[in-house]
Amino acid sequence: MIASALGSYPRIGEGAEAQRLRRAIQKFQAGGLTRDELRAVEDGVTAEVLGEQAAAGVDWVTDGLVRWEDGQTHFTDRLHGFRRGQLLRYFDTNTYYRQPVAVGPVRWQGPIAIEDFRFAAAHSTQPVRPVVTGPYTLARLCADEHYHDLEAFALDLARALNTELRGLEAAGATMLQVDEPALTWHPEDEPLARRLLAQLVGGVTVPVWVALYLGPVTPLLDRVAEWPVAGVWLDCVTEPAAVARLAARPPAEPLRLGLGVVDARNTRLEEAAALSATLARVAERAGADRVAATTSAGLEFLPRQRAREKLARLAEAARLAGAAVSGKGA
């Protein structure tokens, strides 16, 4: 059973060396560091984060999103049609982002994540999955002074991001991840999300996974098998009932199911045996090959040391669950 990181990873830790990115950003903002010098520090931290994930034993990694200020402005700052607005709380997390404001037609105007992906791929022993915030979530979290229509706005975002996804594939990505946390807060918009996904993945041939987190996923489970994607990452912590629902009625094949069983928002460290039992419960029903293990959300909500420990537990749990399910099948 594959164990995978889901997205963000804490970019600083305890001690001076582990906080060099924080100092570099301060210096950059004060004009004491060039963009290239800051990038060199980001490169170093990215390589370190890739190494930590591999050392924890997970099969698939991300670049930890260490260069992102947040999931929204990282994209909207680089697309045409946005300015930055007020500071806003990000869902129910005690973290904040600058709310982007759509002030004109949204258009892709150049690569956003492609160089970052190339760097990560060149510095990782494990397959790196680039992460893109999805058009539905971006549209929901932005203010809209141009379209005054959620669907029209989100469709333009999907078109712009489609160019980015195709660029990532051309740069060598063997799988892609689209984050749509906002859909868990607005399951009534699933039909719109499906139309957006069709636009988003047009011409993309590598597997695309959609990540659903920070809210209940069960209202979406009857529909996800109809999405034009290879897999879904599902937060199984925010709504614990999701596990029973997945074990009773898993979405239809061939959709792959990534179970976010490790709590990315609480420091309480799970036991690998308990995590493994949860994974096995779904895998026995859905098929071990279809199930992967991950965290309930990106790990940046946790202190770095705890994030590392949780990833190690996740990897151990996936090994245990894989062995348990294949043992039964044999």
């Binding site: 600083i12 305890e14 007020q86 500071l87 973290t95 904040y96 309480r268 202190p303 040391q305």
Partner: protein
């Protein structure tokens, strides 16, 4: 015009002067002792109070010079908590987050001595300010409780003891901040139940401060929180939210946030005045307090001062027109 018309105040925190930030770093490095840090905190508190008197604000705050993060400070002084490694808040800002590791019990008064000392420095009313139970629960990791509700209500009981002691010490304005509750509409009932515990039997003026969330989804249900006054961020959305009072009357005292605390720009007096005048279409002046959108700790001392000068000027202009 009544004396209590359009009172001016602030939300709680003021910018920490450089000598205080340096003293904190020096303490962490073992270069100075606790007594030296406390001296720096007291100096900064005196300066903050002097500034507010100079500006002519009506209800003062101590500036929270002795607090780091607003949740972590209370966690450090309450049984049942540990403090985590660094986690990111936004941008390049990090903080240490509380961890619930056992049953929450108040060890003893947390802010009472500081409040008494700050009040002794001024004849004007000094607000007592604590972080509310829902926010403490929501902003903590939880390695102990079986449910969010259980954690929140235990916190409410502990914080009620603090509020009771503040009132006994003479506090006439007691603010219980609940910035976290603007996000989870489904947990508003829990926040309301917790606040009822915190303010039960309290006769001092009770306030809460809420910011940066989906106000339109929690209003007017919000008014069921057991406090007399709500200080709310309004300037950052151009006072658009004030229009909700046309549909659902604001039945309590309204603390109107008239400037954004996350921008370097010092808003003109005219824009603050327009916000106040808009509010007075819905509420009488004695039920309006004029405040910033949020705490001032993210601004420089000069920015905070300039913005407050404008706040006071805007209120003066409106008062003269009444």
């Amino acid at each position: 015009m009544r004396d209590d018309a359009l009172l001016t105040s602030t939300i709680g925190s003021f910018p920490k002067p450089e000598y205080l930030t340096k003293a904190r770093a020096a303490l962490a490095q073992g270069k100075i002792g606790e007594a030296e840090l406390k001296a720096a905190e007291e100096r900064a508190t005196r300066e903050t109070i002097a500034l507010q008197e100079e500006l002519g604000l009506d209800v003062l705050v101590d500036g929270e010079m002795y607090r780091g993060d607003m949740a972590t400070y209370f966690a450090e002084n309450t049984d049942g908590f540990a403090v985590s490694g660094l986690v990111r808040s936004y941008g390049n800002r990090y903080y240490r987050k509380p961890i619930l590791t056992g049953p929450v019990r108040r060890r003893g008064p947390i802010t009472v001595e500081w409040w008494k000392w700050a009040q002794s420095l001024t004849k004007k009313p000094m607000k007592a300010i604590i972080t509310g139970p829902y926010t403490m629960m929501d902003w903590s990791f939880d390695e102990h409780y079986a449910s969010r509700r259980e954690a929140c209500l235990d916190l409410a009981r502990a914080l009620h003891e603090e509020v009771r002691d503040l009132e006994a010490a003479g506090a006439r304005w007691i603010q219980i901040d609940e910035p976290a509750l603007s996000v989870r509409v489904d947990e508003l009932d829990l926040a309301i139940a917790a606040m009822a515990i915190v303010t039960e039997g309290i006769r001092a003026r009770t306030l809460t401060h809420i910011c940066y969330g989906t106000f339109e989804q929690i209003y007017p249900r919000l008014l069921d929180l057991a406090v007399d006054e709500f200080d709310l961020a309004m300037a950052d959305t151009g006072f658009a939210l004030v229009d909700h009072f046309g549909k659902h009357p604001f039945t309590k005292i309204f603390g109107l946030g008239v400037f954004d605390v996350h921008t370097h720009v010092v808003e003109p007096v005219a824009s603050m005045r327009a916000g106040i005048e808009k509010t007075l279409r819905y509420l009488p002046p004695e039920r309006v307090t004029v405040v910033p959108d949020c705490g001032l700790k993210t601004r420089t001392w000069d920015e905070a001062k300039d913005k407050l000068v404008h706040l006071v000027a805007a209120v003066k202009q409106v008062r003269e027109g009444l």
